[in-house]
Every structure is written in C-alpha cells, then in structure tokens.
C-alpha cells in the first residue's frame, strides 16, 4: 500500500475504505508496528523506531486493557508503567477517570466493567498521556450505536482538550461527518491525501461510490 500526504496539527481525519484495503496497516505504520519503506515524520523529523517513544496514543480494535489490572492501574500505565505514582500523579489518574464518567469504579478490573466502560478506561489513558497524535483503529466497533456516539463525543472532547491531531478508522460515514473535518480514502492500494469530508461524501469518486454501495 502507498501513502503520501501530510496533516495539519490539530486536524481530525477519518480513514475510510473497503475491508482489507489497508486502513489498519496505515495506522500501524504511523504507530510503529508495521515495517515500511519511506519515512513517517512528525514536525519535520522522522519518528523514533520504538512505538512507545513516538508522539502517538493508539487504541486498537480490542485488547486495550490489561485484564489483571484495575481501571485505575490501567490508566496509570499511561503516566508510569512502573505504577509508582506520586500523590499528584494519583490525583491526575483519579481525575481522568472522573472525566470519562467512571467515578467510583477505580478498583474494578476489565472483566467487571461493561464494554462501554472498558472503552472509557482506555480513553482516560489517552487523555492522561496527552500525546499530540491520537489514532483510533475502530476501538468502538463492538459497541451499540448510542454508546458509540457517546464515545465519539468523548473522543472529540479529549482531542479538543489535548489539542491532539486525530486519525480515526471508521466504517460509518455518519461518524466521519459528525466529528472529522477531513477524510482519507484508502482504496486500490493507495491512501489518498485528505479531502474535506462533506465535499468528498457528497460527490464521491468511483472507488468510494463502490464502497458506499
């Protein structure tokens, strides 16, 4: 798959396209999990080799939480993987959980949380990490429509608050319209440069029309 484009800081970009076209591959390359030729740069400099050292927070389709750790600990990993937190850091973690609507659930493990609550824990972690680039690889695909809308609203809020640039894989063009000003279409082995979402969807090119049906 080929991709050659740049994004403006603070942009919110949907990534749409048929299954198997390479949406997740694109996200993986940016996050540092997929080997690739060429360069991925951030503010003009090539990204570090180590995914953890990149200015990126990524939410995968599943397995975003450690099952043996509590909600609090899963969020705290975003600050310090050693979990040795100062008092001030503990307060920040607790605060992040309150912000995503999980007050009082600090000590629950993922198995004791609903799907929506699990997503909220992962989002609280991205909030606290506050990396400038937020990648969402369909983390809410398993949630119902109302819950998914709630999560997307929360994501938009977090992106605004942290000033993050956001890339979001989606199968639902309504989502793209709702919160993403721009859209990258991935089809036929190419990730096309971002276009304004409304214009793209109102006047789709042939590949997109085929996908939309």
């Amino acid at each position: 798959m080929r991709a050659d484009f740049g994004l403006e800081a603070g942009a919110r970009v949907a990534v749409i396209g048929p299954s198997g076209a390479g949406k997740s591959t694109l996200m993986g390359a940016i996050a540092g999990f997929v080997p690739h030729a060429g360069r991925v740069t951030w503010q003009g400099r090539a990204l570090a080799h180590d995914p953890g050292a990149r200015p990126v927070s990524i939410l995968f389709q599943d397995n975003n939480l450690f099952p043996h750790l509590t909600a609090f600990e899963n969020v705290a990993l975003g600050l310090k993987p050693s979990l040795r937190l100062s008092k001030e850091e503990s307060l920040r973690v607790a605060d992040a959980l309150v912000r995503v609507g999980l007050a009082g659930l600090d000590n629950r493990r993922p198995a004791e949380l609903s799907g929506g609550q699990q997503s909220r824990v992962a989002l609280a972690r991205t909030l606290i990490r506050a990396r400038p680039l937020l990648l969402l690889d369909e983390p809410f695909a398993a949630l119902g429509p109302a819950l998914k809308a709630d999560m997307l609203a929360l994501v938009a809020e977090i992106a605004t608050e942290t000033g993050a640039t956001m890339l979001m894989v989606s199968h639902d063009v309504a989502d793209a319209r709702a919160i993403c000003g721009q859209t990258v279409l991935v089809a036929d082995g190419v990730a096309r440069p971002p276009k304004p979402t409304a214009a793209l969807l109102d006047n789709p090119p042939p590949e997109l029309r085929a996908y939309l049906g």
Binding site: A31, P51, G52, N64, L77, G78
Partner: protein, 519 residues
Amino acid sequence: MTRARAITLALAGVVALWLIALNFGALGAVAWHAEGLTGLRAADWAAVRFTLVQALLSALFSVALAIPVARALARRRFRGRGVLITLMGAPFILPTLVAVLGLLAVFGRAGLVNDALAVIGLGPVNIYGLHGVVLAHVFYNLPLATRIILQGWAAIPAERVRLAVSLGFSPADRLRHLELPMLREVAPGAFLLVFLICLSSFAVALALGGGPRATTVELAIYQAFRFDFDMGRAAALALVQFALCLGAGVFALRVALPSGLGGGLDRPLPRMEYRPRAAWGDATLIAATAAFLLVPLALIVLRGAPHLVGLPVAVWQATLRSLWVALGATALTTGFALVLAHAILALPRLGAGALEWLGLAALAASPLVIGTGLFLMARPWADPRDLALAVTMLVNAGLALPFALRLILPALRDVAQTQGRLAASLGVHGLARLHQITLPRLRRPLGFAAGLTAALSMGDLGVILLFAEAERATLPMQLYRLMQAYRQDEAAGAALLLLLVSLALFWVFERWGRRDATA
C-alpha cells in the same frame, strides 16, 4: 441409543473397571494379603521424609532454573533453537538408567567433573545420596518445565505485547505486567507436575540413592517385598505411598496440570517482540543448559559405541523381550485411550468427568504398589514369575494412559466439533466413522501417544524387578544387573542399545503419525 454408542460405552466400562482394579484394587490386595499391617519403623518414616524432601527440592530447582532458561529461549532467535527445543522433549522418553549412567559419566567418581577437580587439587564430589537424586531429577524435569514455561511465554497474547510496546514499557515493566502474571498461572502447574513425577521415583533412587538416608518410599516397598519378604511392611508402605500420591493428586486437581508435550513452540514472534541488548547472559544460560543436557548423552554414545557389537546374548534376548512388552503396552494404551475418549464425549458431564479423572488417575499412582498388588492377586492362579512380563506390560500401559488420553481427547473433541454434524447428516456411523473420519484426523496425536508409550515402556525399570528372574529380564533390568556386577563396558554398550531402541520406537510411531497427515 445407537448400537455404536452402546458398544463404545460397554468397552469403556470394561476399561474403567480395569483401571479401578489397577489403581485401587491392587492396593486393596496388598492390604488384604498383609494380614495386619506392620507398624512403620523409624527407617520407614525417614523414607517418607526423604521422598517429600527430594521431590520438593527437585521441583523447586527444576522450575526455578526453567524460568530464566525459558525466558532466554523465548526472546532469542538463533540457529538450532528449534532443534534444542525438540531435544528438550527427549529426556521425557529417555530410559532412567541411561540418564543415570550419563550423569555418572559426568559427575560420578571417575567422571569429567571429578577429573577436572583433581587437576586443580580438589577432592572428589560424591554423586550418591540426596544431591545425586535431585540432580538426576532436575536433569529429567528441567527440560519438561522449560517447555511448559516456554509455552506460557509464547501464549502471552500478541495484542498485549503490542499494547505494552505502544505504552513504552521498560523490561522491568514487562516483567511486572506481562511476565509475572503469566508465571503465576504457569509455574505452579509445572512445579506440581515435577513434584508428582518425583514423588514415585524408583529407578533413580535405586541407582543413586539407597541406604538409610536416601531411600524413597517406592524403593522401601521394593526392599521390603524383595529382600525382607515382609508383606505387612510392604503393604503399610504401599498405603503411605498411596496417601502421598492421593494428597498430591487432590492438589493437582485444583491446579490444571500442563502437559509440556505439545508442539507449536516455534511460532515466529512479531517484530514488536523485544530483544534486550544484553545477549551474553541469555547465550551463556542457553549454552549451559544445552551442555547439562547433551554432554551426559554424548558420553553414553561415546562410551557405549565400542561395546555395542560384542554385547552378550542375554542382552539381545532381553532387548527382544522388552520390545514385545513395549509394543503390547502401546497397543493397549492407544486402544484404551481411544475407547475412553469416545466414551467421555458420549457421556453426560458427570460421567464424562469421572471417566476422565479415572483415566488421568494413574498420573498419581505408584507402579510399585500396583505391581505388588497384581503379584499378590495372581499368586493363587499362577506362578507370578511366569507373568512378570505380562504384568509389566499392563502396568506400563496404565502408567502411559494419562499422557495418551491428554493427547487424544482434545483432538477427538475437535474432530467431533468440526465434523460431527457433517458425519451425522451423511449417516456415517460406527466403525465406518471411526475408520473414515476419526482415525485419519487423529493420526498425529495417536502416533505421538504411541511413540511416547513405546519409549516409556521400553525404558521402564520398576515392576519387573519385583518378580522377574534373570531369564525373564527386560533390557533395563539386564542393564541394571550389569551395573550391579560392575561390568562397566557391557553396561555402557547396553545403555547405548537401550537408548537407541527407545528413540527408534518413538521415532517410528511419531513418523507414522506425521506421514500424509492431512489435518
């Protein structure tokens, strides 16, 4: 109820009765014939203590050493890694006496280590006693524990590793959040399995232990039976051993015992798998482990090869007898395992659970207790010495059954789930189904189970010592006699022969299982 189902259940009933007789009836016979239990002496309690201490130490060392070795193997890729991991499965089918002879060649009075120590003027190390027994058990079980723990490492979900990498975990963070949780799940099972295996240790204690300070209960049963003709004591000791095994077995029911036998350890790890820079520590650890396992075996080959051709006729005759025993045990075990597995799938939950438990019960059974019981049960009808080989075959078959069942049951369950409905809709039942659908899909686990059973039975030294005379000796027994008589050269040759035949048996069956396996 269909006819096939009725036949399956009837056969399973026969096998179940036989297993009950083997695992529990034998003990009853021992107790019955004892005509009153003789009180245990101080020496017997010492044997109980020694049994527990050596099993604890063996399990502790095996697992404690296996953890860093498995970690090193999990995170390094090098030439020969696959071969080394495969070789780590070999001690499991290695005849005990061969392993003991190999260890003697390294750590014994005239072994490599003492030669080296003498050069720098240090006194000889003595391999006999507690540390010798533990050393031999670690030699046996370190590879098994390593394979089990390595599976744990390989089973850490790739998604979780990915998450850890994306969050920038340091090695200490990985240890805490990925590796320790895995070890907490895997290590207790490995520990318990090694403990169970060492609890009924006989041949190792016979060869390297002995005396008042290093006798296991199994060895004490043998001595009471064979040398003192003290049935009361043998029976009392048998009850003690049964209680020990039962205790450990009840424990084992709570912890899921791993098998360490399966394959699938060569899964290439994704790129994001970390490779710490300090490669020297891992390399040293892997090299030391390989040397610990391979040098004794290499010495067996080197020392035995010149004497292989000139072996006495008695050794070749014993080899033939052992082959018959091994092949008979293999046929019985695979047959039993197939019948039990089919019945377990055909029965409702409670019955299936009971049957599976019965099939696995031999894991905690004592071969010497079973052998003694069968001897006593057979005595009214026949001269037990005539039955020595048949009894050995039956006991071997029973002891290998848990392993065979563990290999075959999951595979059969899989076949039933994936092809059961299709077969039923096409009306393929009974023998046709077994022949056309089930067996071809079970070839691999069947071949593996058969190879395992044949090799285990070929190398077993246990029950046969209770009642066989020289003219009915198996190859391991013949080897033991040569060692007792200090005929070192012939013993070396016989050990190599035993090693070769055991490995060849395993190889032939395992090969058969792989040949045009379509699964």
